[in-house]
């Protein structure tokens, strides 16, 4: 009997082992609970993989863009707003990889382990975007594909963005898969698009020139409409005659910039490209991985190739988001935050589930060079494009008309920012297959910048 009693310890050991494993299970389940609950198979929150029970998404003015009621998801009642916000919010099939409803699922559902999915304190997620201005920008893109993005260069907050083509989530077009009009509709061009920069790239070549050519402001360049190298010819849009560096940028002289590019040299031009941050793929604060731009694989000994690269018309491809960072950095004295559009998420009880913080983009341009570049781009508008075009905004910028093979018209680009620190906005706009840079993208930028200006004053 006594010996048997001693062996009872076996049961104690089993019970203790069981107890330990229960603790491990508890720890495992508690620490993974959010991940489990947020699975798209969870019918409490999803229906056929679509998030149906989640908090409200509001724009910077408190306008509701998406909300849930009785297991259904409702979007803005304005179809233009719905189309303009599609890429920012995400689609209901999960084709658009970015999109708050996907990337900010947790902050939108407000899951916490105590209340589970029953959370009566459905959170509200605020965007930095102004949905009305974005919708206006989207409308102005019209039938053209393209995109526009405007951000505060001091804080990184994106106030307006639109990408086209888009579609109405309530009325998905039947021909979305095969109509050419909707080609690339699931791609947010701002984050994932790549464009030939055209003359806007002269801002990069200028940066290289400022950095590497000490007497660049004293040099003059002669344009006879074209310039012949041994292995090719650079064509200019005009016969500009003799120009200073600043005038060459103002008038976007290809001949002058091809010479400047060759004077700098391909390697240093590429260094400036890297320094501008254009080469990077960014992890945005909104959890989107952007498409990395590429300088292009060129023959660095070929003067015509270097020349064409220097005027943004060779193999270089740039991403609008990265371009915006570069613009912000120039405007902001050489450094910039990564632009973002999710501001914060808060439960009805006032608990913050997410709060955006400025994340440094890593771009670091010498502040003196940035300042020079800022003045140069200011002179583009002041001395050449005309301040009247931009209304109340003291604009700095550079237009680009990028020829793309197989397109009837050029892509129209405009990159720029407000000179005035009290209205700190930078922008990048691309209107595809439209024509001259200033006429389309420039005008679009001017309109949106003024709308923002008027709304903020």
């Amino acid at each position: 009997m006594r010996t048997v009693n001693k062996r009872i310890v076996f049961l104690v050991v089993i019970a203790i082992i069981f107890f330990v494993f229960v603790d491990i299970l508890m720890f495992s389940m508690f620490s993974h609970s959010e991940e489990y609950a947020m699975n798209s198979k969870n019918s409490h929150l999803f229906s056929n993989g679509v998030l149906v029970n989640a908090g409200t998404i509001k724009d910077t003015n408190g306008v509701a863009l998406a909300s849930s009621k009785n297991g259904k998801r409702y979007y803005s009642s304005d179809s233009v707003v719905r189309e303009a916000m599609l890429h920012a919010l995400g689609d209901d099939k999960g084709y658009i990889s970015g999109g708050v409803e996907n990337t900010f699922r947790k902050e939108l559902c407000g899951y916490n382990i105590v209340t589970g999915v029953t959370s009566t304190s459905n959170p509200t997620l605020y965007l930095t975007l102004d949905s009305q201005i974005s919708a206006d920008a989207y409308e102005k893109l019209g039938e053209h594909k393209g995109c526009i993005i405007v951000a505060n260069y001091k804080t990184g907050k994106i106030i307006a963005m639109a990408t086209s083509p888009s579609y109405d989530i309530y009325n998905v077009p039947d021909d979305i898969e095969d109509n050419e009009k909707y080609e690339g509709v699931y791609i947010d061009r701002i984050f994932k698009g790549l464009y030939t920069p055209g003359s806007t790239f002269k801002t990069v070549t200028s940066l290289a020139a400022i950095e590497n050519i000490s007497d660049i402001y004293d040099q003059t360049f002669t344009c006879n409409g074209s310039y012949k190298y041994d292995d090719g010819e650079i064509i200019c849009m005009d016969t500009h005659g003799t120009l200073t560096f600043q005038q060459a940028l103002n008038r976007s002289c290809n001949v002058a910039f091809a010479q400047i590019a060759n004077e700098v040299g391909a390697s240093k031009l590429e260094s400036a490209f890297n320094e501008s941050g254009l080469a990077n793929s960014y992890e945005t604060p909104d959890r989107i991985t952007t498409q990395a731009s590429s300088f292009g694989d060129i023959d660095k000994s070929s003067k015509s190739q270097v020349g064409w690269t220097g005027i943004g018309q060779y193999k270089t491809l740039v991403n609008p988001y990265a371009y915006l960072i570069y613009m912000c950095a120039i405007a902001n004295g050489g450094t910039a935050y990564k632009p973002y559009y999710v501001d914060y998420s808060k439960t009805s009880g006032g608990r913050y589930l997410y709060q955006a913080q400025g994340v440094d983009s890593g771009v670091k341009i010498n502040s003196d060079y940035a300042k020079q570049l800022k003045e140069l781009m200011r002179s583009d508008v002041r001395d050449y494009y005309g301040d009247y075009m931009f209304g109340n905004v003291t604009m700095c910028g550079k237009s680009g008309t990028a020829q793309v093979e197989g397109q009837d018209n050029s892509n129209s680009l405009f990159v720029g920012f407000s000179y005035d620190d009290s209205f700190p906005y930078a922008s990048v706009a691309v209107v595809e297959n439209a024509g001259a840079g200033l006429k389309y993208a420039g005008q679009l930028t001017a309109d949106i910048m003024n709308e923002i200006y008027n709304k903020s004053n």
Binding site: V4, K6, I8, L11, V22, S28, S33, Y36, H44, T118
Partner: protein
């Protein structure tokens, strides 16, 4: 027998709070059950009257038991209160998910309670207990053999037989006999012959379960056998050798029948087979997490729509609808019950009760582990029930039967005081 003072656990002894505490626990339990009844009835309008009768009857039975056994007979009834509480969860879940099965579940609990009372009464007489071991062994083997002959395959295992429209799982009842036979054989006879006989009996049982493809049950029987063998021999080497032999045997079976392995191919890969082999486990985890600490409320869950939700997946169903705190509280209760068994087993009337109670508690722990860690993908899912909580009549009755062994090992059950047993032992 000196039953007057020491065993007066409840109202007889001034300054003894056991009685008062038990009364308070009963009130709390009833309050909980009233709330649960209300929440279930609110959603089950069609079966309102029927379910109301079951719920009220259930609480009535609890109070009758408390008054008769606890107050009048002055016995400690904490073990039964735990079993009542756990069983009621199964009743509420069954009523909420399959109202048509609520009667079966209710009847099974009542039947289980009678089995419990009967077994305790039966084991009062140790001579009778010892004498009955052979018939019990035959009963266990008979039950399993009948299953092989009559059962049809259901969910990959051949362990159900149908009698007069009622489906029963004989391997569940055989568990009681298995523990009984093991404890009775090892208690009395130390000869090699009896030990050999018992080993053969255990091998036969496990083998029959293997033939039914009920590997979960086979594993439970095997683990229980190990516990009993250790209790008797105290020899770790033997235990390790038996385990090694079983392991080798298992490997041989798997090499000969590799298709068995396909069952386990999703183990640790459930998220890759989220809509195939990992369907039940992934949904279980997703919905358990959805419940949070306090649950989404009974009837508001989604796991209930998944196959075997109230049986194999019931732990996660409880987590989803009643909350993870309730889920883990159940597991902790079961662990504490085993520790309590170990504590009381020291003062049992004979080593039969010590071995039987430890084997029964061990069996419950092993079965709980297979169920809970299986559904959460810690181990391969074997499809066993969660003791007392899963829907299923046979399983419920068997659990109450096993509980009788635990109860019988507590000397106070038979009106003896713990100190009395101690004294008696010292006299030996």
């Amino acid at each position: 027998m000196e039953t007057t003072k020491n065993t007066r656990m409840y109202f007889g002894r001034p300054g003894n709070f056991y009685g008062f505490i038990t009364f308070v626990v009963m009130i709390a339990l009833t309050a909980y059950q009233i709330i649960m009844s209300y929440l279930v009835l609110k959603q089950e309008k069609d079966d309102f009257a029927k379910l109301l009768i079951f719920f009220v009857s259930y609480m009535f039975i609890e109070w009758i038991y408390f008054i008769v056994v606890g107050v009048i007979k002055n016995r400690q009834i904490s073990l039964e209160i735990i079993a009542f509480a756990l069983s009621s969860i199964s009743l509420f879940i069954t009523a909420s998910i399959n109202p048509s099965s609520a009667l079966t579940q209710f009847a099974s609990i009542v039947l289980g309670l009678f089995v419990f009372i009967f077994m305790i009464e039966f084991m009062k007489d140790t001579t009778r207990t010892s004498f009955m071991r052979m018939p019990m062994a035959l009963a266990a083997l008979g039950l399993l053999a009948i299953t092989i002959l009559l059962a049809s395959y259901k969910n990959g295992a051949k362990n159900w037989i149908y009698i007069g429209g009622v489906s029963i799982q004989p391997s569940e009842f055989a568990k009681i006999a298995f523990v009984y036979v093991g404890a009775a054989t090892l208690d009395k006879l130390q000869s090699t012959r009896s030990l050999t006989m018992y080993v053969l009996f255990a091998v036969a049982c496990v083998g029959l379960l293997g033939l039914m493809s009920d590997f979960g049950a086979a594993l439970i029987y095997f683990a229980t056998f190990i516990i009993m063998a250790f209790m008797r021999s105290g020899d770790f080497r033997t235990i390790i050798m038996v385990c090694a032999a079983a392991l080798i045997g298992g490997i041989i079976i798997l090499t000969m029948r590799p298709y068995i392995l396909t069952r386990f191919k999703t183990y640790r890969h459930i998220w890759e087979y989220i809509d195939e082999g990992g369907f039940q486990q992934t949904r279980s985890l997703i919905y358990a997490a959805s419940g949070g600490f306090f649950g989404v409320g009974i009837g508001n869950g989604y796991l209930r729509d998944v196959f075997a939700a109230s049986e194999d997946l019931v732990f996660c169903l409880v987590c989803e609808e009643l909350g993870m705190l309730t889920g883990f509280l159940i597991l902790i209760t079961i662990a504490l019950m085993a520790l309590g068994t170990a504590y009381n087993a020291r003062y049992s009337r004979s080593s039969f009760f010590t071995i039987a109670s430890c084997a029964a508690a061990g069996m419950i722990i092993v079965q709980t582990s297979l169920n809970v860690f299986g559904v959460t993908d810690f181990i391969p899912m074997t499809g066993v029930t969660l003791p007392f909580i899963s829907q299923g009549g046979s399983s419920m009755i068997s659990c109450w039967g096993l509980l009788a062994f635990i109860k019988a090992a507590d000397a106070r059950t038979y009106g003896l005081s713990l100190s009395h047993t101690k004294e008696r032992r010292q006299l030996r």
